[in-house]
Amino acid sequence: MDPANRDRAADERRWQGRLVLGLLLAPALLWLGALIVLPHVHLAILSLRERVGPRHYVASLAQYETFFAEPLYWHVFVRTAVMSVLATLATLVLAFPVAWIIAKLARGRAGSLLFIVCLIPFWVSETVRTLGWMILLRESGVLPALLVKLGLTAMPVELLYRDATILVGLVYTSLLFMVVPLVSSLESLDNSLIEAAYDLGAGGFAILRTIVIPHAAPGITAGCIVVFMLTLGNYLTPTLLGGKNSQWFTEQIYTQFITRFNWEQGAAFGFLLLGLSTALVVIGLKLSGQRFGDVMRQT
């Protein structure tokens, strides 16, 4: 075979390789392009125009100006962010002991059994789960009746439509998404490290602070990112458990799109929410000193 022929054969092989790779990636690229990139491009264009007359639009930043001019909007925006951070932290605090028990204390079957117990609520749809909370917490529900019976309150108390109720619902919905990355990062922690720290004079809290948390940091960050995003973008739980008082930013987006039929404003809100979650995740990564790649490997 002469050199030119050999080159052509090598070229052909390279092209074949690229074709195969392209075909393999095609579904993912199609999904990304059609369902994520395209709609976002369209929404971006929508958010950057203003209706000046019937079927007449001009490019403007009016939608974003409205957001900053109207106190209600950014008030809801900040409230959503703060509540989401609180819900994420509460989920972390609750999930950590659960993950610790599954990863370190329960042996063999008990561990997987506990894991399944965490998973079981997710067989039921989120709507039904949230309605379950409503049955428990509403004024004529189980918990207020119990409080009256125990003599703790004179009258049944309305436990729904409070911020705390929204938080409870959000934490409940997110718990599993925190437990999974925590379990996997805690399982990889060598028990002899804990023993060595104990042997060198560390108490329980010092071991947690110096050994366990630094080791589990990527898992903790991964869980927090996932839970934070889910919470921030949650619509159902705040709406059902918080009612009119919930003031969740996703509701504002819904209202703009569906009730007011103001797609331009809704699109602008959507981008603001996207910017908010990105900014908070970046801040979180910076604060915890984690790299995004390491963290994503844990999820």
């Binding site: 060598d190 490290l193 023993e195 060595a196 560390a202 108490g203 110096t210 630094p214």
Partner: protein
């Protein structure tokens, strides 16, 4: 350190069976035993990770009952070392000091001084995974010694190293122990580590000490057949005592090979016995008349020559019974030209061969019980 009738049971078996022993301050004490003999359990009880079911452990005169590992004057070097990967070498060494509330500048000064002493000066900023196996070993030891413990426990710390490094670290460990004067309690299944390093060795089997003594005692004066078989290489000959002359026992195997050995323990004529002969105790000769005149002579045939430098040996088959017998080759190179199937004579001093009453349940007709 004193252990007083320490007992630990797991479900249905006794891991440590009422052990009592004491370790002198500043000495190097090894616990030698096959895996599963309870030595790790014993070590973890001294460290405080498991509580004994009975008995007491005292360190420096104080009972360690109900004292948590982080409050004991004891530190441990773990089998897998357990260095903290999330910290630098310096932070690893300073970890224990930080837990004691030593101020930061003092901590850095002491951990650097300790790293200097183990030959790792200037390594304090390195990450643990940048170190070689031997350097990690030294960090693990430095991390414990910087706390100036009364007792340092070492759980087979050389097990994970390759042979060459293990030989090197053996010497280093001994030098470190001599330099620091800390009491070391070392557990291992490697008899050569135990013999080289220790002032005293406890040979452990099934939760009990078979024998406690200096390495020389264990090697030259084993008290039980287990110790004779486990410590060093030995030829094992099973038979019955046929006559007795003071402590000297004449033993006949069931196929009629007659050897003589020094009896240990109560042996009566007719008892089943085990005889152990070290490979270096026996003498080789091409002609029987060249053997020492006062020793019983045996004849054999060379089966194979096991060349291993200074540890070279020849594997013989005893002429009549075809039993294997191992003899160390002299350093003079006198027998380096032996060939398989060659006829040869050998003898050994009966006073340097030991004979024990046979252990119950240890069967086997065969001659050699070589270990290590």
């Amino acid at each position: 350190m004193v252990a007083d009738a320490v007992v630990k049971r797991f479900a249905d078996h006794v891991a440590v069976d009422s052990l009592s022993f004491s370790v002198e301050r500043g000495s190097f004490f090894s616990i030698l035993g096959p895996s599963g003999c309870g030595k790790t359990t014993l070590l973890r009880m001294i460290a405080g990770f498991i509580a004994p079911d009975g008995g007491d452990i005292r360190i420096g005169g104080n009972s360690m009952r109900d004292i948590a590992p982080n409050r004991r004057p004891v530190n441990m070097v773990f089998q897998q070392l357990a260095l903290f990967p999330m910290m630098s070498v310096g932070e690893n060494v300073a970890f224990g000091l930080a837990r004691r509330g030593v101020p930061r500048p003092e901590r850095i000064r002491r951990s650097n001084a300790m790293l200097e002493r183990v030959g790792l000066g200037g390594f304090s900023g390195k990450r643990v995974d940048e170190l070689s196996g031997g350097q990690r070993q030294r960090v693990a030891i430095a991390r414990s010694l910087v706390l100036e413990p009364t007792l340092l426990l070492l759980d087979e710390p050389l097990g994970a190293l390759d042979l060459k490094l293990r030989e090197h670290m053996k010497i280093e460990l001994k030098q470190l122990q001599a330099a620091f004067g800390t009491t070391f309690v070392y557990i291992t299944h490697d008899q050569s580590e135990a013999l080289v390093l220790s002032d005293h060795v406890g040979v452990m089997s099934e939760g009990r000490f078979e024998q406690l003594g200096s390495p020389q005692d264990l090697y030259y004066r084993p008290q039980t057949p287990f110790v004779a078989a486990f410590v060093g290489a030995n030829n094992r000959i099973v038979g019955r005592a046929t006559s007795k002359d003071g402590a000297l026992i004449e033993v006949s195997t069931d196929d009629g090979w007659i050897v003589r050995a020094q009896g240990t323990g109560a042996i009566a004529v007719g008892d089943a016995v085990e005889v152990f002969v070290r490979p270096e105790v026996a003498t080789l000769a091409r002609a029987a008349r060249d053997l020492p005149a006062d020793q019983p002579r045996h004849a054999g045939e060379v089966q194979s020559v096991l060349f291993d430098g200074a540890n070279s040996a020849v594997l013989l088959l005893e002429a009549r019974t075809r039993r294997e017998f191992r003899i160390a080759l002299p350093q003079t190179g006198q027998f380096s030209d032996l060939t398989p199937r060659e006829k040869i004579a050998f003898s050994f001093d009966p006073a340097r061969a030991v004979c024990f009453p046979a252990r119950a349940g240890v069967a086997g007709r065969d001659g050699s019980g070589q270990q290590g």
